[in-house]
């Protein structure tokens, strides 16, 4: 148990150091453009899975929280020229509040209704942004981010490193939650809310906490985007495709442990990055659709579940 923690911490530090090293060693910036997208998916998948995987509440509108993060950050940058760290914290807070609102919904509705309500949240927020002139409305908002610090080599490298740090922290947080009493409580209430309650689990509080943490991290994932793309628009910030991918990744990897979303994200994002430039985008989307169907039908516990099943079969 302890040894695993040490190994994980060491792994996390290695990833960060490798990221930092790569920024200085790899001259080709494309690596970081593509890397940003992949790391962003890791954050999104991990964040989503805290509520969707551990607690079993399906947030079908992760794009609402991501978009809220994107726009919070852009708003602060435009209004005050706030530094990225401040924007990330602010996006996290906004995501947390929205997450708590979603958590309130779990009191009233469950299952499909919760999922549908979260879809509604995306459209509502997008409509609101459309009608706020200051945020550029439907026109979008082009902002040039301030110069990055010198140690980060370049702008893209800088946001890549920031996002990498966020990703490492998100995964560490997800892992901690999973292994702590909180994760146990969440999984217990996923199995049976009534039994969990009767085992002394404060189910309501835990659900709210999961919604808040998941919401905050989803929003944080969007905070650096304006620095990356220099331009945001409602269509990209509240993108249906992004939401879909966010859900698909943990499902492909496996929702029960922190490693599932990470594996799913690395896999899907890399394949998509490669596919964008090799095969037609239609086939790209078709691939995601088919992957979803195949995984639901054949491997409901994702790649990790599949691997475990195979291992058990080999032992038996």
């Amino acid at each position: 148990m302890k040894r695993q923690d040490v190994a994980f911490a060491a792994g996390a530090i290695v990833v960060l150091l490798m990221g930092f090293g790569a920024v200085h060693a790899v001259a080709n910036p494309y690596f970081f453009f593509a890397g940003y997208v992949i790391v962003q998916y890791v954050v999104l998948a991990t964040a989503w899975n805290i509520l969707g995987g551990y607690a079993g509440y399906i947030n079908f509108g992760p794009a609402a929280l991501y978009g809220a993060g994107v726009y919070t950050s852009a708003l602060l940058l435009k209004a005050f020229g706030a530094p990225l760290v401040v924007n990330i914290v602010a996006a996290g807070l906004v995501g947390m509040v929205l997450g708590l609102m979603m958590g309130y919904l779990t009191l009233r509705v469950q299952g499909v209704y919760f999922a549908i309500a979260t879809i509604a949240l995306v459209i509502m927020l997008e409509t609101v942004v459309h009608n706020i002139e200051y945020l550029g409305g439907a026109r979008g908002l082009a902002l040039i981010a301030p110069e990055p610090p010198a140690w980060a080599v370049g702008r893209t490298q800088f946001v890549f490193l920031v996002l990498l740090a966020i990703a490492v922290m998100s995964v560490a947080l997800a892992r901690w939650i999973e292994r702590s009493w909180i994760g146990r409580g969440l999984r217990a209430l996923r199995a049976s809310e009534e039994a969990a309650e009767c085992a002394g689990v404060a189910t309501l509080r835990l659900k709210l906490a999961a919604c808040a943490v998941s919401g905050a991290l989803l929003a944080v994932a969007g905070a650096p985007y304006i620095y990356y793309a220099s331009y945001i628009d409602p269509g990209s910030a509240f993108s249906l495709t992004l939401g879909l991918n966010t859900i698909a990744m943990p499902l492909i990897g496996g929702t029960r442990s922190w490693a599932g979303p990470v594996i799913g994200a690395l896999l899907l994002a890399s394949v998509q990055q490669a596919a964008t430039v090799t095969i037609s985008s239609e086939l790209n989307v078709l691939m995601v659709g088919l992957a979803l169907i195949v995984f639901i039908a054949a491997a409901p516990d994702g790649l990790i579940g599949l691997a475990e099943r195979l291992r058990r079969k080999m032992h038996a």
Binding site: A138, G235, T276
Partner: protein, 421 residues
Amino acid sequence: MISRRRFSKIAAGTGLALAAPALSTSSLAQAQPIKIGTSISLTGPLSGTKNALTGYQLWRDDVNAAGGLLGRPVELVTYDDQSSPAQIPAIYSKLVDVDRVDLLISPYGAVLSAPVMPFVKQRDLFLVGMFALAGNDTVRHDKYFHACPWGPNSQVNWARGFFDLARAAGCTKVAIMSADIEFAKISAAGGKAISEEYRMSVVYDQSYPPNQTDFSAILRNIRAAQPEAVFVCSYPPDSTALIRGLSEVGIGDSVKIFGGSMIGLQYASLLANIGPALNGIVNLHLYVPEPTMRNPAIDGFLARYEPLARAQQLDALGHYVPPFCYAAGQIIEAGVKGANTLNHAQISRYLHANPVQTIVGRATFNELGDWTEKRVLMVQFRGIRGRDVEQFRQPGRQVILDPPPLRTGELVAPFGAARSG
């Protein structure tokens, strides 16, 4: 390698270029190609512009047939951006950092090019702009050259033609409606600015969601405001629905001129689809087959485009996007040949100093890379009958009202009369 390059340089420099076609098959094939990179919206909501690729390809074929650039063949490197700005940064980085392209062309429109602008500014790269309104106004990059004739200060000016016509027709009250889409919002803002400048009162100003299918409420509200000019900034899906709404609920007798900035009324499928209901509408275009526009170059281009379009199920007319893609190539061609190098600074310096003759007209660039002269057309649809696409290849159906040097007819007003006529 070096010697071959030097040879090409000498060849080009000493007027041996005339002999280049003869050399092309042997030496051109061996030369290191010049790579030109861009992204095209092959999929997604902007995939109506995917015929851009044909425009680029035709130019590439022409330039290679004529011996290439600097004695080297031209090669296109293109990716599908799925109409999504989120894809753009990675694609352009890949073009520059992985594919090592020599020159860049922007993706289509303001939304997709917005993420490219800071990138080229930071890397100090040459970029040919495509269709973005006011694309360089924020970044103010000195190596940006627009292939489209929006003209200077385009955000405000590019639709000025419509308001010039409205003012000439004596309009004082204007209604502005726009889709919740970047391009439409920018044009609406420009329209508002000009209305103010011309002291017209804006009696209606609202936007609607991009997929609005029923315009009866909006049209009734506009009719209630009794405007004389209606400036419409719409996108393909709603353009059709809006025009249908016009026939169904009408717009009132006060309106003298209607249209302005409706995207979609340049596409063959939409034009054919709407048919006679187009009559009377005054709308922007960049090329129509009117006598003042035609020349052998563009005619030849369109003649070659047509069979390709049929084979690949592209827009049958190809008036809107492809000629300007060809022109983008011509701008690159002129810059590279003129500066006789692939050095971005030198190409830019050359293009700032010299006009370029393209198949869509002569382009002179200002300090922001916009054409010094606005050459957006305001055309009025006349005598459209049935749903045959061929009629849009004939003169007299899309009469040019503005700019004056290209004019082929006068505004027919009021709008009601123009519709029935």
